[in-house]
């Protein structure tokens, strides 16, 4: 039943700018680093000679969490907005489809779209490094994939939470504000040191890549994402649709 809803959701996101956003995020990060390395190519390649790929990944890493939080917020909001705009909820939920299928479908489509973003990032990083002549043989494929996908897995709680908020509130200004605050906040919370830093979900996407013990943060992200998604579903099932 969820696949029916999912196929319908894929139709609905046409022409809403979501596809554009999905490519804009990762390509934006790549473009920034292309500019960075393009402007001071000689300086950077001399200074970091021997660990060029690692440096590039570290530079990109700084922008991954903030982009993820922004992406999660905007994708959730755009998805929910499609239904809020003319209150299509009442039409959608009067169809013979269970409410949890509707909710999970929204979660699934945003998950798939953001996974696509991660793939674009991975391909983009590799392409950027190669075009900067960092060398194919030294390319750290494992690290590129970890950088592209693990932070996303660690940010699933945010996806579940924002999707829930966006579907719950007709006024999208509230979740978007919270999302932007979370994105900006994640830059500052990453500066906190010690155990507290690791307890903060805002930092999980960062630790999901830089570690130590990345698997803990990824697992925590998955688990918390599932719990929040479940809570969201339970609430969505009971909610009155006005």
């Amino acid at each position: 039943m969820m696949f029916k809803a999912l196929s319908s959701d894929f139709l609905k996101i046409r022409g809403k700018g979501i596809w554009f956003l999905i490519f804009l995020g990762p390509l934006g990060i790549i473009a920034m680093q292309a500019l960075n390395y393009g402007l001071r190519y000689d300086y950077l390649t001399q200074r970091y000679a021997g660990r060029l790929w690692e440096t590039l990944l570290a530079d990109i890493q700084m922008f991954v969490p903030i982009s993820l939080f922004l992406g999660v917020t905007l994708v959730s909001s755009l998805l929910a907005h499609i239904e809020h705009q003319t209150n299509a909820w009442k039409q959608l939920l009067a169809l013979p489809i269970s409410r949890n299928a509707v909710f999970f479908s929204k979660f699934a489509i945003s998950f798939l779209l953001l996974t696509l973003s991660c793939m674009v990032l991975a391909i983009g990083v590799a392409a950027l490094g190669l075009s900067l002549r960092f060398g194919m043989e030294t390319m750290p494929i494992g690290s590129i994939l970890r950088l592209s996908f693990l932070p996303f897995a660690a940010s699933l709680p945010a996806l579940a939470l924002f999707l829930w908020l966006c579907m719950l509130l007709k006024n999208q200004a509230v979740p978007i504000t919270l999302g932007v605050l979370a994105a900006i906040g994640s830059v500052f919370t990453s500066l906190i040191s010690g155990t507290l830093s690791k307890m903060l979900p805002l930092n999980w996407p960062m630790f999901g890549y830089i570690g130590p013990r990345q698997e803990l943060f990824v697992a925590a992200g998955f688990a918390a994402g599932c719990v929040i998604c479940l809570m969201g579903t339970l609430h969505f099932i009971k909610k009155d649709v006005n």
Partner: protein, 304 residues
């Protein structure tokens, strides 16, 4: 008839201590067109939302096709088409894609999309984005979506809102055909009696969340019996004359008001008066229109 398509028992919805709908017992027969009437804010939309499972009743039960809605919602909804309040649509998509988004969920055959579009007269506009549609066209698209799954029961909440007179007429004709051609039962809500008077077989009137009338249109007509008024030269004398013939009347100014309106009685009254040399200036039938009756039913108990 024993087989009710929709039957509610004690259906109530409470919002913060105030009943939006209270103790509603609807009975809608198969193949009937049920006009659900009430002024704005009487609880029509709340009721229809409860019938579709969009909101949960505070008390009471809903049975559709003889099944309990809270237990078998999905199998019931598979046989129901609905349009709730103002139309919902995805503005950035064309009419066809709007229907396709619904079709993918209900799994109707693809050919059904062009069928329903031509039923509601939107076949020519199928490719345009819906945000450019007029309200009437959006309303038709809403009706098309309701028809998409070949429903056995249609619930239409104010389906002619925003339509022009010819559009209203078209939709009315369309609704009228439903039971005849496809055996579809229709529940149609409206705040105008004139709107459903011509289509509905049964009406339910709701006022402040309570059902105050539920019967056939024919019986409603019965209640709307009119009266005759006669303007005569000497009403006082005429009143006495009629009383001598066993006909009761009330006189007000130059007018006599009579309850009986059968042709036979009226003829007898006129003959009697003419024979007694009364001049009769006017014989008028004052029909209480259904609308007046409706307003009277709805108006009772309002605090305004």
């Amino acid at each position: 008839m024993n087989e009710w398509i929709i039957e509610t028992k004690g259906l109530s919805k409470r919002y913060k201590g105030r009943y939006a709908v209270s103790n509603l017992n609807l009975k809608i027969a198969k193949g009937d067109i049920y006009g659900f009437l009430g002024p704005n804010g009487a609880g029509k939309t709340t009721t229809i939302r409860m019938l579709l499972g969009l909101i949960k009743p505070s008390n009471g039960s809903v049975n559709i096709f003889g099944k309990a809605l809270n237990k078998e919602r999905l199998s019931i909804l598979r046989r129901v088409g609905s349009l709730v309040e103002y139309p919902s649509y995805y503005g950035h998509l064309s009419a066809t894609d709007n229907l396709e988004a619904i079709r993918r969920i209900i799994e109707a055959p693809k050919s059904r999309i062009s069928e329903v579009l031509s039923i509601v007269g939107l076949a020519k506009e199928a490719r345009r984005p819906v945000k450019g549609f007029s309200l009437g066209m959006k309303q038709r698209l809403g009706i098309a979506s309701a028809l998409l799954g070949n429903p056995e029961l249609l619930m239409l909440d104010e389906p002619t809102n925003g339509l022009d007179p010819s559009g209203i007429l078209e939709i009315r004709e369309l609704i009228k055909q439903m039971p005849k051609q496809h055996g579809i039962t229709v529940l149609i809500s409206s705040h105008l009696l004139s709107e459903v008077e011509l289509t509905a077989g049964t009406v339910g009137i709701i006022r402040q969340g309570e059902l105050v009338f539920q019967d056939t249109i024919a019986n409603l007509h019965q209640q709307a019996q009119g009266s005759m008024s006669l303007v005569v030269s000497d009403p006082e004398q005429a009143h006495i004359t009629l009383r001598q013939h066993g006909i009761e009347s009330v006189h007000r100014g130059k007018t006599l008001l009579l309850e009986q309106t059968s042709d036979h009685t009226v003829a007898r009254i006129v003959r009697t008066l003419v024979e007694r040399k009364h001049d009769i200036y006017r014989v008028e039938e004052k029909r209480k229109t259904l609308e007046e009756l409706f307003l009277q039913i709805v108006g009772e108990g309002t605090q305004l």
